[in-house]
């Protein structure tokens, strides 16, 4: 039995919204990173689901790329978080506002 593609999309949308919610309400930069990870994976789910739906592998290949990019992004993000911690003794994103006007 196959699950119809709508369910996958629904799941993807739900995961994306969870990620978005996390970004909008959390203050901890690590949580940000995780939320972004969730949103990226929501995208991955979409890609794989559409690949299944259309019956070709392009989407799956893109999903692999996306995972790679996500890893890279985490590396950069963690670096930023380290610097954030060094400069502000904290990783609260609401503290780091000295660059604004």
């Amino acid at each position: 039995m196959t699950v119809s593609v709508e369910w996958y999309l629904l799941l993807s949308a739900a995961v994306f919204c969870v990620g978005l919610f996390g970004i909008l309400v959390r203050q901890n930069a690590l949580m940000f990173l995780m939320s972004v990870e969730l949103m990226l994976n929501a995208g991955n789910i979409n890609l794989v689901a559409f690949a299944l739906y259309w019956g070709n592998l392009t989407g799956q290949v893109f999903a692999l790329f996306l995972i790679g990019i996500a890893a890279a992004e985490v590396a950069v993000g963690l670096g930023i978080i380290l610097v954030l911690n060094r400069n502000f003794d904290d990783i609260d994103v609401t503290e780091a506002t000295t660059m604004r006007w």
């Binding site: 978005l20 970004i23 909008l24 959390r26 994103v93 609401t94 506002t97 604004r100 006007w101």
Partner: protein, 711 residues
Amino acid sequence: MMGTTALTTLAGTATVPQFISLATKDVFKLAPAIALFPLASFFISLFLGKRMPKGGALAGIAATIASLALSVWLVIELAIGGGTYQETLYTFVGGASDSAVVEHTGVELTFGLLIDPLAALMLVIVSLISLLVHLFSLGYMNDEGETGLPRYYAGLGLFTFSMLAFVYSDNLLMAFVFFELVGVCSYLLIGFWFREDAPPSAAKKAFLITRFGDYFFLIGVVAIFATFGTTAFAGENSFVTMAADGLNPDVAAEGIDTPGVSEDTWFTVLGLLVLGGVVGKSAQFPLHTWLPDAMEGPTPVSALIHAATMVAAGVYLVARMYGFFALLPTVLAVIALIGGFTALFAATMALVKQELKQVLAYSTISQYGYMMLALGGGGYVAGVFHLTTHAIFKALLFLGAGSVIIAMHHNENMWEMGGLKDRMPVTYATFLAGSLALAGIFPFAGFWSKDEVLFETLAHGLGGSPILLIAYGFGALAVVLTGLYTFRMVFLTFHGEPRTDTAEDPETVGWSVKLPLVVLGVLSVVGGVLNMGVLKDIIGESNLFLHEWLDGATMDTDLGALSASHYSEVLEADYGAGYEVTDLSPLGPGVVALVFAVVGVGAAWYLYSGADPEPKMTRLGRVRTVLLRNYYQDEYQAWLATGLTLPFSRIADKFDRGLIDGIVNGIGTVSMVVGRQFRQIQTGVVTNYAALLAFSLLLLLFAFGFVGGWF
């Protein structure tokens, strides 16, 4: 239009020719050097003057001797049959005649030289006076222990260069460039004693007022370029010839573009614009006020620049493009009226001055008025003649005054002199010769030229030009005053008993002072031989040497459009000024003018010849005050500047800073206020940005949804 074939045009040879053989014709190839010698002396005096004996004077003397020799050679060459010579020396815009610039604009900007009898004559005058002034400066500057001599001689060198280059300019633009440059030299030399108060101020005044006139001249040059596409003085494609062809109905010429007015109206405007520069430079009413102040400069400078040569530049310019002015009756009438009025006006002021050089300054203004009167009245030869003789006798008078000033330890007040006749006989004799020439007493140089000026004006005036008759009246009246103020000056300075201790025992002057005086004195006595117009009926027309000279009669080739007879033709042509000449014997007007001059001299003798003359002009009362204050010319010009221009400028400033700047500043302020409000959304909190992004995306989705009709 004939005769321009006589011009040896060597367009395109941009280098100064090397001279190897000095065959007669090659003297023309050397002509550029006439001006370049003084330029070299300028650099030598400026940079090496401190290390040279006499502070660089020797370089200047050597250069002016060389210039004089070459100029005289040119004159001889023209006198024994050479032709007019024109050469383009340097093209700074345009290059080859088929270049893109020329094709696009039709304009080529060049430096070139034009040697014709007029230019050759003027070259001799300028280099001669310059040489004598350099010599005189040895006595006036070096022996008096002045400092800054290299600067002084560099100034003289630069001036001589500019003036000579102006004289042999073959186009109006080049003439304008050097016209300005002589103004700069005048500024530098008037302000030579820049540590005192008066000279720098006088220098600024001279610069500003002549520049006011030159402003019109500049517009005139540009307008002539725009109208004719050339500013060449001579040749088939000169603006003079094109203008004449344009007005002459007998010549089928291409139409000339004029901005919406008829050709003669537009040419009149052009002529008046150029005249602005002439009036400023030649110190004609109402722009004459700088010249008396310019006497703050060293006296040799006054003699060279503010009497004999630079001030002559304006008059020379009119003579140079006389073929153009001769087409324009209105402009000629303006020239004649300005000239005649200035001659009288300045003479009245000279009557009451107490300083020797002030009298001479106003006399200079007055005499240049005569030259303008002559040119305006159709007397081309007369104007050039008076220019020549005046250069000689006025330089003489200024140098004589310089000699007196040395003797009087730089006291210029004539009332503190007296009795110098016996104590400085050479100065007295030469000064007297110059004064007799200035007053116009037979047979001194000034008599012949001034009579010719008046005669030509009268002859053309009686031919049906009442304006010229008015101008003649001014000029004739000024003759009386000229005799009076000249001999008032002579009597007060040299005659009677010494009125001060300095006059009792004046300082002696050296040979370098006396030699120039003697040379110029002799020339002042015999200079009239050039053109004894009064005796025309007796000696025959062919013995009027200057007339023959300016007519090109001594040359093998035809002088054509630059000849005096061509100018007379144009003056009398219907398309030209339309002057008519009354057939008048020159003897009658000559005798009248002589009688007038004698009356003036006699009045001076009556008033001031006693052993202890008293101030007689004080009897004039308030008139004297007005004359002493120069008719309040300075006051009204200062008022024009401070009372009229300044408030107007303030209003313009208010408009500029209030309205224009206000609009610009307002736009800036609005942007700043809006920006200051808008930047509040940049909180620096990443969450907010993310929220903005997310909600904007949602908004966008809804918007697309509405437009796309999803709901």
